[in-house]
Symmetry: C2
Subunit: 384 residues, 2 copies
């Protein structure tokens, strides 16, 4: 077995060592993202890796139950769960420990999550989640703020060809319910829409069929989609969703006229727990970078809780889209050069690699240690 | 129950939410430490939270077995363990995936560990470990490098009144073995030395008693300790330990003449797996900040493996010693001021907090949102 296959067999499937250049690349990107969040008033919180199962998996967290590892706590004799998603933890912090803080409450986070199974698209079972939550604001301005913040932060770390796909995952259900369709029919329609199957939509759609087909066809570039949507007669609940889409798009356009925005009017997959305007972030090079949208923070399945929105970025895909920063030059500092000499080189921006013993050929030693330069009698010289 | 007791009851004992200002403080300190490590050629690696139990708990990792949570991996049907210590993972990476990289190999890391039980001194069951490993170097220069790096990094993040306590945990055993004492007697002597119990040392020490008492008395400021040590007749193995102590101290003095160094000549608690020169980092204000020393990387209980040294810092104690950086000013940007206006304020170093809806009294709203300033017609004004 080659060395690499041997050593990867040391780790369980879906878990891996992040090796030197990649680990620094990820850490730098995470810190830069959090700095952008902080600059817009989002304050960092850091919940623990493990919580009591009943807290972590209640309310919206219940969705991750099958993906969550359990541990017995010998101290309390209660079951604990390793977090598979940080979002419910942030909502918990907002609605318990920070419940007396002024609203809107802006929080951000970065951390590792662990999942029982990888998916076909994302085989990793451990990954870094980075995101923000904006809690206690109902306004379209809040929806726009988190989209713009995501775009701003991704742009800051160098993601090229960014685009945002807006959707309102509640709209289809509201249209169908408004036109008197039952839950079974709505479920069938959802499945047909997911397959983009016009024939099935026509067959089961009844009074909603024509509307839904129009929505399906109109999905795409934002202006065309909104034009088509504006002309449609919508039931009352869906009318509210349309207004939120219109207002949010207008705010995005005003702030970032050049941003590529598309709208999917029938999307709901991956947004099962979203309660309003939602979005997916794409890069042409790397695919889906993250998603976000409206939910109720602290709702315990009763639909109450505080209005909230936010997003989560997927660091694994994201890093594929971002060029690593150029690493500073490494200079080999031969044995006996002195601590102060090396310190001065570092102050000048060099990475210093100290020789721990005398060597015959310092230039060769520099190359062996992956240093492009070495210190020769006070001067930094290329290692040749 | 007051709100805070209620919400802390939500979490298992020894686990806690790191709330806004503290989370940012910790993240900034961790990144600064890693930047100092990187500047001296230490490259970051990031092993997974979870590994197969047999790998994580073999060799030196075995020491943490009782402190380690286990999980069943449904994929491989094998037991996995949640790391309780990152050091064995770095040694694994060095001796497997990076075994073909040039030596000495310099690696650094930061990450969360989880433990079954907290200790009296450290009740937390989850904490952040930050450290370095220098693998494949036998020289005293390597011992000095990691001590100096720790001091340099801790100074960089603002730890005041730093001191280093050197020890060679193998020396007592080598003296005793060299003078013909058996394993049982050595164990009893260890216990007596741990209690600083001179009477017991005299009673069980036999031919080593006088030597050990001198070592015990000589522990303290480095120069005095070395003077006392230099005068002693030592068996051969212990003579090597003395030479390493002398050489390392000389290198520390040459690099940092003002560094406070003490030497404990009989210390071994907490260094059970160290094989040579070791050290503890202290701050007068906060106590023990971390420790490190020599071990064999990749040794599987057979004493082989590569020579290595390194250190681990305890972020919890450490943060108590470090003043948080002054947070940048927060400015409330009233509704309708425009994205570009807020962007310019951020470029000037402000944290902007956007108003999501019009308010009657912007200065009051700024104060409510913990902003010291607000934007009034293009000017940043104190919120009063």
């Amino acid at each position: 077995m080659p060395a690499d296959a041997l050593s990867s067999a040391l780790l369980p499937a879906g878990l891996h060592d992040v090796l030197p250049s990649e680990a620094a690349h990820e850490a730098a990107a995470v810190e830069r993202l959090l700095a952008e969040f902080a600059a817009q008033g989002y304050r960092r919180v850091d919940p623990p890796l493990v919580e009591f199962e009943e807290n972590l998996l209640s309310g919206p967290g219940a969705a991750m139950s099958k993906q969550t590892f359990r541990l017995m706590d010998p101290h309390s004799q209660r079951m604990m769960a390793v977090r598979a998603d940080i979002t419910p933890q942030i909502a918990r912090i907002a609605t318990t420990r920070l419940k007396n803080e002024a609203r809107p409450l802006r929080l951000c986070y970065a951390g590792q999550v662990l999942r029982v199974k990888g998916s076909q698209l994302r085989p990793e079972r451990q990954f870094t989640q980075v995101g923000v939550e904006l809690i206690g604001a109902l306004e379209a301005e809040a929806d726009a703020e988190v989209v713009l913040l995501a775009v701003q932060a991704l742009t800051a770390i160098g993601v090229p060809h960014l685009s945002v796909d807006l959707c309102v995952p509640t709209m289809v259900s509201r249209i169908c319910a408004g036109l008197g369709l039952g839950e079974d029919e709505i479920r069938q329609l959802r499945a047909a829409l997911d397959r983009k199957d016009s024939a099935a939509v026509a067959a089961v759609g009844g009074p909603a069929a024509k509307l839904l087909e129009t929505l399906m066809d109109a999905s795409g570039p934002a202006d065309r989609a909104m034009q088509a949507l504006a002309a449609l007669p919508l039931p009352e609940g869906a009318e509210k969703d349309r207004r939120r889409l219109t207002d949010t798009l207008a705010l995005l356009r005003a702030a970032m006229p050049d941003l590529t925005v598309t709208i999917d009017l029938v999307e709901h997959r991956g947004f099962e727990y979203q309660t309003g305007l939602s979005f997916t972030l794409f890069s042409r090079a790397a695919g889906e970078l993250g998603q976000g949208g409206r939910y109720r923070a602290g709702a315990q399945g009763d639909g109450r809780g505080e209005p909230a929105t936010g997003f989560t970025l997927y660091m694994d895909t994201l890093l594929r889209a971002v060029p690593a920063a150029k690493a500073p030059g490494r200079v080999y500092v031969p044995h006996g050069s002195g601590w102060e000499t090396a310190r001065r080189l570092r102050a000048d921006g060099w990475v210093t690699v100290a020789g721990l013993a005398p060597v015959a050929d310092a230039a060769a030693e520099a190359k062996r240690l992956q240093c492009g330069h070495w210190l020769a009698g006070g001067d930094v010289k290329p290692a040749g």
